[in-house]
């Protein structure tokens, strides 16, 4: 039972250093002030959602707000091969997982991706979080046929960060706005109505007026019933460099999340599979302390909300799922 010990130790260390910083003694790293501050622990109520970091941190884009700094050369996490995914799917079925999500990096960079989706659609609904650049009409037709043949649904979530090239491209890369919309259109034309995922990288994105602009944009592509998901940004990874890292006060303390009232926290109902084991959630994959074990059975324990990103999840009620 080493998980809780190692993770708790890391949390204590972080809290101790935060305490030292608040006391103006941040330089004295060798002798951190140990505080009694404890963090809430979240119980895994029901493993409903299983995520796969199927493309690792490898992406064909290098977005300036990416909370795990994905890029063409970031191999912090690598691709998950089909055989590995199958092993976790078998365990997930046994534990009653209800739905599956695939992310990266860019999932369609994984050469096994379509075979992985085929295997997943035999056991449950599948959702792919993609930047849309590799969604050409042929691939979309194949995906639609796969969904048609399955008793479960297949959803595509396509990321977009502005309702025009001027606001999107500085974040996601030159020329991406047009390519993302082409991907969304190909998906729609193949019969898969994509969920456009927008972060609040521009404050206006999440306002009623901002939402309206995204909806209008999607309607202009012929999508009659646009689907939109707005997410806050996490001030980690590349985003920390863009808009600043978390402040020391942005940490949860015991009592902030009363025991038993954690349904709004996705870590009470999800886990994340990577090439290096199973993590608590999709957000903390670049934090070694987010790792809970090698198999799903290793990760059925409670988890301490000791990372500043946990504060964002709690305050904003974030769920990465659709």
């Amino acid at each position: 039972m080493t998980t809780a010990t190692a993770t708790d130790e890391a949390v204590r260390e972080r809290v101790a250093l935060d305490g030292a910083a608040e006391d103006g003694a941040a330089q004295d790293v060798a002798a951190p002030v140990e505080t009694a501050r404890a963090v809430p622990r979240v119980e895994l109520r029901s493993l409903d959602t299983l995520w796969f970091q199927v493309a690792g941190t490898i992406c064909n884009l290098a977005c300036s707000h990416c909370f795990i700094s994905c890029s063409p050369t970031n191999r912090t996490h690598d691709h998950l091969p089909l055989a590995e995914v199958r092993r976790y799917l078998a365990e997930a079925v046994e534990l009653g997982v209800k739905e599956y999500y695939f992310t990266g990096g860019e999932p369609f960079l994984n050469p096994d991706m379509e075979a992985i989706l085929e295997a997943t659609l035999e056991v449950g609904p599948a959702n792919v979080l993609t930047n849309g650049l590799l969604l050409d009409p042929d691939r979309c037709r194949r995906l639609a046929a796969m969904a048609e043949a399955s008793p479960y649904s297949l959803d595509l979530r396509i990321s977009l960060d502005g309702y025009d090239a001027e606001s999107n491209d500085p974040i996601r890369g030159e020329g991406t706005f047009d390519r993302i919309l082409a991907g969304a259109q190909a998906s729609h034309e193949a019969g898969i109505n994509p969920v456009m995922t927008v972060t609040e990288v521009h404050a206006s994105n999440g306002t009623p007026e901002g939402r309206r602009k995204f909806i209008d944009l999607l309607r202009s592509l012929g999508i009659e019933r646009p689907r939109l998901k707005i997410l806050p940004v996490f001030q980690i990874g590349a985003e920390a460099g863009r808009s600043g890292a978390y402040e020391t006060w942005q940490m949860l303390a015991e009592g902030d999340v009363p025991e038993g009232s954690w349904e709004h926290l996705q870590c009470s109902s999800c886990r994340m599979v990577t090439d290096q084991g199973v993590w608590v959630c999709p957000i903390l994959v670049n934090e070694p302390e987010g790792r809970m074990g090698a198999t799903l059975a290793d990760t059925l324990d409670t988890y301490p909300l000791g990372h500043p990103a946990c504060w964002t999840c709690h305050v904003h009620g974030v769920s990465c799922k659709t």
């Binding site: 039972m1 080493t2 998980t3 809780a4 190692a6 993770t7 890391a10 493993l47 941190t57 290098a62 795990i68 700094s69 890029s71 063409p72 050369t73 970031n74 191999r75 912090t76 046994e94 534990l95 009653g96 980690i236 990874g237 920390a240 460099g241 890292a245 290096q276 084991g277 199973v278 670049n286 934090e287 070694p288 302390e289 987010g290 790792r291 809970m292 074990g293 090698a294 198999t295 059975a297 290793d298 990760t299 059925l300 324990d301």
Partner: protein
């Protein structure tokens, strides 16, 4: 006709990459992102191995059984 690129052309091609593009390509070569820090990949991977429970097969089976056991439902009916 040879498919090899003459040496001088190789150099010219390389020069076509902007300094910014080269920086981006090198950003993670052999490095991992640990939060906001760039650390050697090996350092990240060995840190990862120090976290998490590693149960043996028997313990895993016991965890699965305990997890799947029905929990008492306090809802009055």
């Amino acid at each position: 006709m040879s498919q090899r690129i003459p040496e001088d052309k190789k150099v010219r091609r390389r020069r076509h990459l902007s300094a910014k593009a080269v920086d981006k390509l090198k950003a993670h070569r052999g490095m991992a992102t640990w939060g906001e820090r760039l650390v050697p990949l090996g350092e990240f991977k060995s840190a990862v191995q120090s976290y998490g429970r590693e149960l043996d097969e028997e313990e895993r089976e016991a965890e699965r059984r305990a997890y799947l056991e029905p929990r008492p439902d306090p809802t009055p009916v």
